[in-house]
């Protein structure tokens, strides 16, 4: 079930209405069933995989909880962790990477002059498998590390893994944040619910008005076999807007839904296109995934504790794997490596200037803000070209294009597409600048009691939702596209 469908609207209204009439235990059972219904709506067998992952990780965590009376030695706990890692990564690897692996082996053999016909299976990638696998894995690793007690309740743990608002495209929640919410009674808060409604409306607006409309431009440009420089970069610009609007829209709708149910999910985006450096970008883009890789891969590899050369290698490894997490194709690995190299460059530059291990956190002088922002914006979009262009020959061609060489009509078309995409993106920029001006995001407002909310705020909220609804009615794209991150 997708958020921008009539099915979901009905589903959510029914779930929310029934949910708040139940006791805490019944709420959890109800949400669990609703989450599986949501996930298996189109392809019911996906639920088997989700259930299998849940069962294995719950059971493994019971076995290695260091505080449990029956917990074994450190060696046996490590063995259980390996069971969790192997089972999760095998399922993920099979469904996501099997054909990629076979294709790559075949290509390598062909380049060595060996002809081989290896089996290629028609494997359907279960939606959201990368997200819930990582969420579940973080739980078993945290239990192994002793940061978390194993959940005694299979129901509660299953709900933590399957919680429908964030199941298929994140944010990838940590058990230490989400499980206590599952385990403890929740109270309906009208102030939170109203804020959540604004957040959801903003999410739907970004998806239906911005992402789906600029997505048409990006898809059209990337379907061309020989776009000129101007046309290509208009398409990349549109794609950069599409992927941000699309993915952050999903997160906003997910966070809004969760708040209606008494949960608070983490932020996944912090105005990434305002970033001033590569490390700044990764503190703002897909925060739940970058922090996952930081905590469960980069730091265990040694992080920045073993000297600069090892730090740089760790960064590169982390980013190549992070790239491959997005999809089983070399362009994603290349995109990851590219961002890894940007960070390596930043770290090295920082070391040479002696500004410490985190040069991206240094205060930027006012005169440098705009040029540095523009440079970062361009660098991120070069990355989007690597991300979006799956054909290596086309990518090479794209990177060697020279401005001003295409026919006039095509250059005009490039400018035209850029301007249309830019016009559609104005609310995104306005939102980012408003946040900078305010000093905090709308969704970060502190929760106050209903009696303390001024009427003016409620009127503004109602008007904001109304204006977004009015615009969605009129400008929503007639070509509805799936959320991009469903593919990962």
């Amino acid at each position: 079930m997708t958020f921008h469908s009539l099915d979901f609207l009905v589903f959510f209204v029914v779930v929310t209405t029934v949910y708040w009439r139940l006791s805490h235990g019944a709420q959890n059972w109800f949400l669990l069933v609703a989450s599986y219904l949501f996930y298996g709506w189109v392809t019911p067998w996906f639920c088997l995989l989700l259930g299998g992952t849940t069962l294995v990780d719950w059971w493994v965590a019971q076995k290695m909880d260091p505080a449990a009376p029956a917990s074994g030695t450190r060696w046996s706990r490590r063995t259980w962790l390996v069971v969790s890692l192997v089972s999760n990564l095998t399922v993920l690897g099979f469904f996501k990477y099997f054909n990629f692996f076979i294709d790559s082996v075949q290509a390598a053999m062909a380049s060595a002059g060996l002809e081989a016909s290896l089996p290629v299976l028609r494997i359907v990638l279960p939606v959201g498998i990368s997200f819930y696998t990582f969420q579940s894995l973080s739980y078993t690793i945290d239990v192994y590390r002793g940061r978390l007690r194993a959940s005694g309740s299979l129901r509660d743990f299953a709900l933590f893994v399957a919680f429908f608002p964030q199941l298929v495209a994140g944010p990838i929640e940590r058990a230490e944040a989400l499980l206590p919410r599952v385990q403890h009674p929740r109270v309906f808060n009208l102030v939170v619910a109203r804020d959540a409604l604004v957040l959801m409306a903003w999410g739907f607006f970004k998806k239906l008005v911005i992402a789906d409309n600029v997505g048409i431009i990006a898809n059209r440009v990337f379907a061309m076999k020989d776009p000129g420089f101007e046309m290509l970069w208009a398409g990349v610009f549109a794609f950069g807007l599409q992927i941000f609007a699309d993915f952050s829209a999903y997160t906003d709708i997910a966070r809004g839904c969760a708040r209606w149910l008494g949960f608070d999910l983490m932020k996944n985006f912090e105005h990434p296109y305002l970033a001033l450096s590569p490390s700044d970008f990764w503190r703002r883009w897909h925060i739940s995934l970058s922090s996952w890789f930081r905590d469960y891969l980069y730091i265990p590899l040694g992080g920045s504790r073993r000297g600069l050369p090892r730090t740089l290698v760790n960064i590169l490894i982390t980013f190549v794997i992070s790239g491959l997490w997005h999809g089983a194709a070399w362009n994603f690995a290349l995109w990851g490596a590219y961002h890894g190299l940007l960070l390596v460059g930043e770290r090295t530059w920082g070391a040479l200037r002696g500004v410490g291990r985190h040069p991206g956190r240094q205060r930027v002088p006012a005169w440098r803000v705009v040029p540095q922002w523009a440079l970062m914006y361009v660098l991120v979009h070069i990355g989007w070209l690597l991300f979006r262009e799956a054909d290596a020959a086309m990518l090479w061609r794209d990177l060697t294009l020279v401005p001003g060489t295409a026919p006039l009509a095509e250059r005009q078309a490039g400018l035209y597409l850029f301007l249309v995409a830019f016009t559609l993106s104005l609310p995104l920029w306005a939102h980012s600048l408003w946040t900078v001006w305010q000093g905090r995001s709308y969704s970060d407002r502190p929760v106050v009691r209903e009696a303390e909310v001024p009427t003016r705020t409620i009127v503004w909220q109602a008007l904001a939702v109304g204006v977004m609804f009015a615009t969605i009615l009129v400008l929503r794209s007639r070509t509805s596209l799936d959320f991009i991150y469903f593919a990962f």
């Binding site: 061309m224 008007l463 109304g466 009015a470 009615l473």
Partner: protein, 338 residues
């Protein structure tokens, strides 16, 4: 509840806003079953004059499936008779019916045969490419009133969801506001190089169909491949609620012959795409119906001469193979070209 009430009330502002901003004449839709009043693009009569000047022996109607298959000039050369194309990419059977009625029939010309090119279920799916951006091209072939087509559309939009959709559209003046907003959004950049509206429209057409047209697309297996919904392959149920009987009735009234040509979808390897039993039955019923009405049906599917090498992106035939297809088409259907 108050916040929801206000949020639902705010879009009502489209009524006064459009009354003030939408300065063009707003006309009642020729498809009231589908949409409310809105600005529309005027009917484009030029093809009628073109047909009267050319006096074609054969006329072809369709979308890019036709445009990438038949080379009209080449076919005219082979036949020694004139051939006219009423082809427009991104159109559906509603557009083809209106082209047939408002261009060909209205021109008074009576070609020997009129060919309609379609994919799978297109001829019995009048809602295909009817709404959203497609309505602008439909405007150009529609008269101020199209009661027969409207009846067909109405028969397809009887569910509760369609009624809710229609009520929301009317309550908030969505169709008019959408037409105006889209025009502003997609038009304003072109004002940077011309103020003349026909020139702007011509520029947008050139960009869509030439600068970014089919010829410029990469060879992609799945580009523009329209997935056929097997459940819809029910000829007896869908035919009466389609433009197919309208086309046939019109042809019979004016003593014209019509041939429907189902193009072959992209082959898989070098074998034609698989046909579900339902689809096969649909085509059998289609053929029986058309022939009983004295018309023709030709199905390219399974033609061993139409190999994968001929295809470019999706179901389109590559430019280099267009004449080959045209030649084969003429040879296969030579009784109709005598």
């Amino acid at each position: 509840m108050a916040i929801l009430a206000v949020a639902l009330a705010v879009p009502l502002i489209w009524h006064p806003v459009m009354a003030r901003l939408s300065s063009r004449a707003v006309e009642p839709s020729y498809l009231p079953a589908l949409e409310a009043s809105r600005e529309r693009i005027a009917f484009r009569p030029d093809p009628i004059k073109d047909l009267q000047r050319l006096r074609p022996s054969y006329v072809f109607i369709g979308d890019s499936m036709l445009g990438t298959r038949i080379d009209a000039g080449y076919l005219a050369g082979l036949l020694g008779q004139d051939v006219a194309m009423l082809a427009r990419a991104g159109t559906g059977s509603a557009y083809w019916y209106l082209s047939f009625k408002n261009y060909l029939v209205a021109s008074g010309e009576r070609p020997k045969v009129t060919f309609f090119f379609f994919r799978d279920l297109n001829m019995t799916d009048p809602l295909f490419r009817l709404t959203g951006p497609f309505r602008w091209s439909l405007d150009e072939v529609a008269q101020p009133e199209e009661p027969a087509l409207n009846d067909v559309i109405a028969s397809r939009r009887q569910g509760a969801w369609f009624r809710v959709h229609g009520a929301v559209n009317r309550a908030y003046n969505v169709d008019r506001a959408n037409a105006w907003m889209e025009r502003q959004l997609y038009d304003w950049p072109t004002r940077l190089w011309t103020d003349d509206e026909p020139a702007r429209r011509a520029w947008l057409e050139t960009m869509t169909f030439e600068t970014m047209g089919l010829e410029r697309l990469r060879p992609m297996t799945d580009a523009d491949v329209q997935a056929t919904v097997d459940a819809e392959a029910d000829f007896a149920r869908t035919m009466p609620q389609s433009v197919l009987p309208l086309i046939i009735d019109l042809a019979k009234q004016h003593g014209m012959k019509v041939c429907f040509v189902r193009v072959q979808r992209r082959p898989v390897g070098n074998t034609p795409p698989a046909q579900s039993p339902r689809m096969q039955e649909y085509m059998r019923d289609f053929k029986a119906y058309v022939e009983a009405e004295g018309m023709f049906l030709h199905d390219d599917t399974g033609d061993p001469m139409q190999t994968l090498a001929m295809y470019e992106d999706g179901d389109h035939i590559g430019r280099a193979h267009r004449q080959r297809y045209t030649r084969q088409f003429r040879a296969t259907l030579h009784p109709l070209f005598r």
